[in-house]
Amino acid sequence: MHLADAAPVLGQVEIRDRSEASCISENKLCPGWIVDNFDRYTDPLAQHLYLTVTSVVIGFVIAFALALIARRRRWLVGPIVGFTGVLYTLPSLAVFFLLLPITGRGSTTAIIALTAYTLQIIFRNIVLGLQNVPEEARDAGRGVGLTDRQLLWRVELPLAIPDIVAGLRIATTSTVGLATLAVFAGAGGLGEQIISGSNITFKTGVVAAGGLAVLLAFALDVILLGVQRVLTPWRRVQPA
């Protein structure tokens, strides 16, 4: 901001506003409009974040429990992968409406569908991670007198973290994308800014909402990578 006298500054603002209005009325891509109207995206963005994080967290808890059960009973891996595979294949949009007679409209329905979608990716990666633990590491753990439970929590799970996080990253990125459909389940999110009213032909709005979803996916991905780095300090010493 430099201090010129007031009139030219006002003039400038007016000119910018007018060009922006004409940009919008001609339905072009108007970055200035996105900046000025960003507040209309904050609530949908927050809903989107809520839907994604809740679904991935619940999905992780369920998949983790299933993986621990399958660790002792190996024959369960096949059936669990098969069942969660069916959930993964069902299109979310269909699941929203299949659930509608049971759970009604709203974020519960959206979260159930999105959670169901994450299960297979996360389950597979936890199982894979536990399988990839070197037998020597297990032997060393047993050698220092760890019980089976201690072996799991102190040796196997920490060593499986990179695989588990890889699964969470895929699940999270996909869920951000699918959560744009949550608007059809009446759960809001960024999809609302894409399809409600005549939004779908509003170029600037489509780019803004879609762009925010992509940015959200990348931001969550970076956070998960950071979590992995913090949880696996030994990997920083000797990059594999």
Partner: protein, 235 residues
Amino acid sequence: MIEIAGVVSDFGDALDFIFSTREAQTGGVEVGGLSEVWEFTWEHLKVSFAAIGVACAIAVPVGLALGHAGKGELLAISLSNVGRAVPSLALIAFFVAYIGVGFTNVMLALVLLAIPPILTNTYVGVRQVDREVIDAGKGMGLRPHQVVQRIELPLALSSIFGGIRTSAVNVVATATIAPLAGVLTLGDYILSANVYGPDGRLAGAMLVAVLALTVELVFAAIQRAVEPRGLQTTT
């Protein structure tokens, strides 16, 4: 108990919508019934398979070339990560807003959606081929294009079809929102509930779910079938 009965009767009404026509909510025209269901299913399959076909024609040769040369790993791998981050709804909306509605535009949007998994899987499939097998082929006097045709492609085929399977399921799921762009797939039952009513919407959800599962099963079977017989014992 009443709730369960209500849910069951909702699904029963939806089945009824699939098998017999009725008057539209908006009045005048007949909707539902097997012939209309088949019409939408056919449109759904047409736009999906056109997209998968075009995506294969682009992604498989590129993936084979990159994999054979061992170049562009970053592109081949990160493409599918970036692809996952772009919401399919935003992709369709982008095409509607910037290019327009209609069959070709929806198909192109679906092509963009289908390319990354096929390209990545083709690349990874080729790179996974044992170097010694390739060296043995070269030792027998195979030329580079013969190495691709006779060794790398057959050995990567299962991985390639794995990618096609992922894309196919994804594309069929996304084709559900194609009515937003003027292509009347099965998704129209879901998206135009004001015409088809709640029974039609639930019927649409059931049909889309069954279609996606069928596509998954068919492509899983193809993936198993194309695996060279010598490799099939190792699952």
